[in-house]
Symmetry: none
Subunit: 226 residues, 4 copies
Amino acid sequence: MVSNAPLHLKPRKQPRQARAAATLDAIFEATIQVLLVDGPRRLTTTRVAERAGVSVGTMYQYFPHKQALFYALNERYLDALAGKVEDACRARHGDPIDRMVEALVTTYWNAKTERPNVTRALYRSVAELDNEALIEAFARRADAATAAMFATASDAAFEDLATVNLTLLTTIFGVVRSVFERNLPIAEADAVLRQLVMMCVAYLKAARVSASGRRRGSAQLAAAST
Amino acid sequence: MVSNAPLHLKPRKQPRQARAAATLDAIFEATIQVLLVDGPRRLTTTRVAERAGVSVGTMYQYFPHKQALFYALNERYLDALAGKVEDACRARHGDPIDRMVEALVTTYWNAKTERPNVTRALYRSVAELDNEALIEAFARRADAATAAMFATASDAAFEDLATVNLTLLTTIFGVVRSVFERNLPIAEADAVLRQLVMMCVAYLKAARVSASGRRRGSAQLAAAST
Amino acid sequence: MVSNAPLHLKPRKQPRQARAAATLDAIFEATIQVLLVDGPRRLTTTRVAERAGVSVGTMYQYFPHKQALFYALNERYLDALAGKVEDACRARHGDPIDRMVEALVTTYWNAKTERPNVTRALYRSVAELDNEALIEAFARRADAATAAMFATASDAAFEDLATVNLTLLTTIFGVVRSVFERNLPIAEADAVLRQLVMMCVAYLKAARVSASGRRRGSAQLAAAST
Amino acid sequence: MVSNAPLHLKPRKQPRQARAAATLDAIFEATIQVLLVDGPRRLTTTRVAERAGVSVGTMYQYFPHKQALFYALNERYLDALAGKVEDACRARHGDPIDRMVEALVTTYWNAKTERPNVTRALYRSVAELDNEALIEAFARRADAATAAMFATASDAAFEDLATVNLTLLTTIFGVVRSVFERNLPIAEADAVLRQLVMMCVAYLKAARVSASGRRRGSAQLAAAST
DNA sequence: TATGAATGAGCGTTCATTCAT
DNA sequence: CATGAATGAACGCTCATTCAT
């Protein structure tokens, strides 16, 4: 990934040696732990450094200031997430849309659920910084991956794939975020997840240009609803 | 609405006079402005007071501490929002579901869009406080209002209304939030809004117990998709 | 008592009416109560006024500032205390010294013990203000009263009454204060009190010019110690 | 001495280097100076730090909060004082009581008089904190030291040494404190000091079990006074 | 290069005092 | 006169950042 972060938010140096990479990892993990254990209010550079087993001074060798640490943490997280989405999409090229949607939703959901507290912590930490660039970059990658996937669907084509795709991703991201925000109990969260798949499939089917003839457009929706 | 906020987060006194009410309004508005202009990191009691044209001391006569100000601000906002949702739902009792969905989505969307910066500011400020109680209370009210509405739908009934309802609201809330977060240009945002309505309708239709006989359950989805 | 307090520490007006006197009393009592219940750190003008059942504004009619309130409170307390000492001394004119000492110690002790918490609170509050004038005034009155008393002792006369008297008072005041400061349990405090009387008597007898001949001076001490 | 101060009132770190020790000394000295020059009301963390030539932040590396600074200051002072008393007592084991008393009073007096302003400042500062533990600890050490000394007196034994000892110490501490509080001129203060020795000796002789036979108790006092 | 003691601007909060009502 | 809301200087304390070692 080529980072497009504003210059002043970038780590001061790239990890060129295993040592540096290990230190960076320790710092990131420490940040998350402090975020989880002490909360965002108690997340101080000193505490992070302590937990990471390095001195504050060393931390400032890697990040010119606290914001840069946050930024890099989110960047790394979103980078990995985008990677997972891309992989999942590539693996479903040519599939029918319901398989695609299920894979997409499941992949995203699992990625977020793997360490739910980390997810929650990051959702919160994001509010602290100017994250538009980050989110933008992530969204672009996800957009591209899913759009490419849907374009190969075996059972559907779309008049305005861009909009449909945007809506779909916005929905998936938004629903997952809301589920976390409301702290829904697992049973309800799982139910919503399953419904989410159903909803997305229903949407795609309603939005597609029919495979047999492609004569109906989005007019199909009105028709289907009678 | 009888507020159920923790006592220590409540305004110290209720506005008994027009003067006090005006001051409160000024403080709330100032908070939003500071949030917007200076960002959440620069939101200090001094700055808010300055912008509101009162002294810090005065602010502390209305709010026992900074958190209480945040809390009250969000409470007030969510209270109004819940009221709008309730009104809209009541007005659509007995309608067909597509009308219901459209009214619901439009109402929520308009409420959020009316002052987009305020919305964005509040989305961010919420991360600052322990807001579960607040969100919970709002969600409960919205849940109740929409569930009651859908129960009167002229053209649909649902096996598990609770889950369908939860999914629908989670979707609407989540999509709107995501649209704001990504700062989508108006054209795209509007497109997503329209698609959102379509998606919700498709979902409800897929999820309903068929009006003619009500023999199919969610199995209907699979059937419909062939 | 003619107060010799610095002008800026005096109450703004003398209580000329029963109403004003009652208010003053209420304020003084409230001050003590707040001192006792909330501690010296929480003693705020607002709290005192509240407890006294008046507004802050009214309090400022009686005392130009907080220090003046403290000052007046201590002045009133020391005035009463001096009065008691004077009365007790007058009542023992002509008595033998052991009766005098016992009366003196007992009077002072009882006055301090009557409301021990108040005593403790005042001991502490005194540190807050420039109290030399107050203590000076009190000491002068006590000095005069006891010196006058000892001068009439039926069984003793003193070469340097001033010094003996000063030592005696310093001792009594100091011991009592120390007992309070160390928070001695009642049993020990009472024991010390009794020993105090004994000590003072022993001291006066050692220091007196012998009644029979008055030939020994303070040389008597050396003699007595063989 | 192993300090038994509550954990939260202890200095955050022990001076491990000469530098740190110097800084600590500077802070302590600055505290005293501010106390003397500006009074207890103006003793703020900022002012102390300024006077000590360090930043507030540095002060907070040594003391977790203002109270801890007070506490440590008094602890250090009382620790040294107790040490002096212990030394003086040890040196007089086996002596006659008048030598003991003179040594005790003189030692205590000199320790307090060495830097009279410091003494006065500390007397005042003690009122600011919950000092019972501190005073208690000091009193215990002094008690033990003097009791052990008096037990070896060559010319006296006591029925109730504990009470006599307590009274004696309370007297010495109290008289000295009162002398400082009243700000007596040096001449008078010295006179009182000499009288204090005489008084204590007279008291001990009156309270001792007679060396010749030890048959009289405290009844001896009454007998001696005829 | 790594360290962590030192820095000090800036925070949230309090409360003595004022003054319009 | 009495009131008590408003004021704002000043407090105790935190923590991102620097820099001598």
